[in-house]
């Protein structure tokens, strides 16, 4: 009966097989495609929602951490200032456009090279103002503005100057640098605010901020020695907030230039003084030649290698060790226990004077007599059950050895 049904089923299947299979394959393929699309779209949505994490750089305009300047940028935007964030000198120049009504500020100058700095000053000659927020310690000297950075000798007490963005009662703190204008710069109109005193009696005095008037080479340049004043953490301290907002919010358009590695690579530094003495190059050639000569000297053999007719090396116990591995891999405790018991029984039989082929029933009483243990125990040991696990097998093996030892010493 069953056979008939089965036969009819197999008979029926070939007729529609291709159609059914094809449809099923199509449906399966569609499911796969749908899953892939869902995964891609979902992944993209998650990526957009998560966005890129806020940067952690010092003075980064998007930085929401303690060293970022997002708070200041947001305040400026609320004041109606159009803030552009750029990361290369070329972008900064482009963003400043023809320069009217634009202020360019350099935040973190760690990656600002001297050539990028010159390019910036050159391209923004018509801008309202260029601000170096952290004094640009790496390349300020190279710009040739007549300014140097020093260590502030004292905290500035008062502004003591008359610049439009400084009010008489302003106080600053958190000085990092003291900006020192040279005599030539002072003569050409450099003005300093918040005097920090001079490092020595003969040295010129420094300021927390110095402003240079516009020349044919550059527009108004303001160099600050208080970068911390712009950070989220300290912008509310002293009179920092008012000071930097007045300084940076002076024009309707602010270009915030935060140099990155690409910028540094596009504007390589032009310093070219070598730190090596001239003889290093040829000296290295001599060293290399000497090394080659040394290698040739040591590498030359005193006669060819002599081959050794090696003997066959195979340990006699290798087959037994392999057999042990096989037993272990197979975990055949049934066979293992039988082998151990048979071997012990044969030795015990010889010991008590029975033929090695004696049955356990005949052997057990004799062994029990010789060892001084109950015959039941001997019987259990020599023909008991198969150990349940490896620990049981170890116990059995040890008990057998122990019994043999007892019979031997009795």
């Amino acid at each position: 009966m069953t056979t008939t049904v089965a036969t009819s089923a197999t008979d029926a299947s070939p007729v529609s097989a291709s159609g059914v299979d094809g449809r099923r394959a199509l449906r399966r393929g569609r499911t796969v495609v749908l899953w892939v699309v869902a995964l891609v779209v979902g992944g993209a949505l998650i990526a957009v929602a998560a966005g890129s994490p806020p940067p952690e750089d010092y003075l980064h305009p998007d930085g929401t951490g303690q060293s970022g300047t997002r708070a200041l940028v947001e305040v400026l935007r609320e004041q109606g200032v159009d803030v552009d964030v750029v990361s290369t000198a070329q972008e900064a120049v482009d963003a400043a456009g023809d320069g009217r009504g634009a202020t360019v500020v350099v935040g973190n100058s760690d990656l600002l090279t001297d050539s990028a700095g010159r390019r910036l000053l050159e391209g923004t000659r018509r801008a309202d103002r260029v601000v170096l927020l952290d004094g640009a310690p790496g390349m300020l000297d190279a710009l040739g503005l007549g300014l140097t950075l020093g260590v502030p000798a004292k905290e500035p007490a008062a502004a003591d100057c008359s610049l439009p963005w400084v009010e008489g009662g302003d106080r600053v703190s958190r000085l990092s640098w003291s900006v020192v204008p040279s005599a030539a710069a002072r003569a050409s109109g450099a003005r300093g605010c918040f005097p920090t005193g001079s490092a020595g009696p003969d040295l010129p005095a420094g300021f927390a901020a110095v402003e240079l008037p516009a020349t044919s080479d550059h527009t108004v340049v303001t160099v600050l020695g208080i970068p911390d004043a712009a950070t989220n953490r300290f912008v509310t301290e002293a009179d920092h907030a008012g000071l930097v907002v007045r300084l940076l919010g002076g024009s309707p358009h602010l270009v915030w230039y935060h140099p990155d590695y690409e910028d540094a690579a596009a504007n390589p530094p032009t310093t070219d003084d070598s730190v090596w003495p001239e003889s290093v190059g040829p000296g290295l050639v001599v060293l290399a030649l000497a090394f080659v000569a040394f290698a040739l000297a040591r590498g030359r053999r005193l006669g060819r290698l002599v081959p050794e007719p090696l003997p066959v090396v195979v340990r006699a116990a290798e087959t037994t060790e392999s057999r042990a591995e096989l037993y272990r891999a197979a975990a055949d405790r049934h066979r293992a226990a039988a082998v151990l018991r048979r071997a012990s029984a044969a030795r015990l039989a010889t010991r008590v004077g029975l033929p090695p082929t004696a049955s356990v029933d005949a052997l057990a009483p004799a062994v029990a007599d010789a060892a001084g243990v109950p015959a039941v125990d001997v019987d259990l040991l020599l023909q008991g059950g198969v150990p349940a696990d490896d620990a049981g097998l170890v116990t059995l093996a040890q008990q057998l050895a122990h019994l043999e030892e007892k019979v031997r010493t009795s």
Partner: protein
């Protein structure tokens, strides 16, 4: 040609002019100076082809574990002093000390250079080339040449069981002495007639001789002599297995040597055959005085081969002579090899000869068998028990064929075999 490290140091000195005048041209100028110096030194060096080298004693023999000196004589046929290094090239297992010699041979003189060989393995070692490197007067460049100087050392078996020989010879002498008062029986043969003295067994009186001589004459008997003993050493794959880091073959040879020495003293005729698919060594003890030396020397270069032993070939060596012999087969008791190779040829041998199978057992097996501390050891113990049972099965199968089976660790086998031989001799079963 060869440079020396001094040449590299000379090149390194170029740093001084480079520091004084830092320019590329200084480097090239210095390199030119260096090349000139090296070239001049090379031209002034003595030519190695003008040093003639000969070896004193081309064929050496040394027992394994002992050292032997080999000397080269360097004869400088040129006028220049030959100064440099000599290396006598031998295979690593020949154990050359020192590896290289510093020599200085003035013109038209000769010097001897002695290398000590401390071989680490048994067998023949053939000297490779001798290399001579002669430096120029400045020692920055040298000329080098390698030449064949024939030499060969045969490293003999250490024969460690020879320390047991004196005690076994004492047993043999005791056997001789006891047999003098022994009467006729199996295992003795007629020695001589002598006058009867009080105490002699009356059963040994030779009445026929007594009748001829008119006074009592007794026959004396001595243990049988001039028995034929054939020792077959199996060099097949099973003999290659290492027991305590020495192949089984070495222990088998040790046993063969002790038996040869003992049987030689007992005035038996010993024949030794070593082979696997073919016979590698065959010694027929024609000359009793040099028998042991011949056997040691002939067996020295025999190594285990990775082939299955053809017992038909070895058995035909034994059955060449129809004399009843003691046949000692030195082969490991490997169940499969014994069943397939040895057992088929045994009935024919047992029919005409007394056959003893002596096998080298592995003490590692016994250690594995008795070590039962953990799971891993117990599985090892199970395998060892199984191997032991199989070996015993093979031994029993041989025993049923009428073969005496000896299975002992390497250091015991020679003694066991010698004792078995003495027991057979005592029983007169040879």
């Amino acid at each position: 040609m060869a440079l020396t490290t001094r040449a590299a140091a000379l090149l390194l000195l170029g740093l001084v002019p480079v520091v004084l005048r830092p320019a590329g041209s200084t480097v090239w100028a210095w390199l030119l100076v260096w090349l000139v110096v090296v070239g001049a030194d090379l031209l002034l060096a003595a030519s190695p082809s003008q040093v003639r080298m000969t070896r004193e004693g081309e064929a050496l023999q040394v027992r394994l574990g002992e050292s032997v000196p080999t000397s080269l004589v360097l004869e400088n046929t040129s006028g220049r002093t030959a100064r440099g290094l000599v290396r006598d090239g031998w295979p690593p297992s020949a154990g050359t000390r020192p590896a290289r010699h510093r020599v200085s041979v003035p013109g038209h003189e000769r010097r001897r250079v002695t290398t000590t060989l401390v071989p680490t393995r048994r067998g023949d070692r053939v000297a490779d080339r001798v290399t001579l490197r002669l430096a120029g007067p400045l020692g920055v460049a040298a000329r080098q040449r390698s030449v064949e100087v024939p030499g060969r050392v045969r490293v003999l078996h250490a024969f460690p069981s020879r320390k047991h020989l004196p005690s076994r010879l004492a047993v043999l002498r005791e056997l001789d002495g006891r047999a003098a008062v022994r009467t006729r029986g199996q295992g003795t043969e007629f020695d001589s007639l002598r006058d009867y003295v009080d105490g002699d067994d009356v059963r040994s009186i030779d009445w026929r001789a007594t009748a001829r001589r008119r006074h009592l004459v007794v026959r004396t008997w001595q243990p049988e002599q001039h028995r034929r003993i054939v020792i077959v050493v199996d060099t097949g794959r099973t003999s290659a297995g290492r027991v305590d880091d020495a192949p089984r073959l070495d222990a088998a040879m040790d046993a063969a040597l002790l038996l040869t020495a003992l049987a030689g003293h007992a005035r038996d005729r010993v024949q030794v055959v070593a082979g696997d698919r073919r016979v590698h060594a065959r010694i027929t003890g024609a000359d009793r005085a040099t028998l042991l030396h011949d056997v040691i020397s002939t067996l020295a270069p025999v190594d285990p081969q990775v082939v299955e032993t053809d017992w038909g070939v070895l058995a035909s060596e034994v059955t060449r002579s129809t004399h009843r012999s003691l046949v000692v087969l030195l082969t490991p008791l490997e169940p499969a090899a014994v069943e397939e190779g040895l057992v088929p040829v045994l009935p024919a041998l047992v029919a005409h000869h007394r056959v003893v199978v002596a096998s080298v057992s592995d003490p590692a097996l016994e250690r594995m068998r008795t070590s039962r501390d953990g799971s891993e050891e117990v599985w090892g113990a199970v395998a060892a028990e199984r191997t032991t049972a199989l070996r015993r099965g093979a031994a029993d199968a041989l025993g049923r064929l009428g073969v005496d089976v000896l299975d002992a660790p390497p250091e015991d086998l020679p003694v066991r075999l010698a004792d078995h031989y003495l027991a057979l001799k005592r029983e007169g079963l040879l």
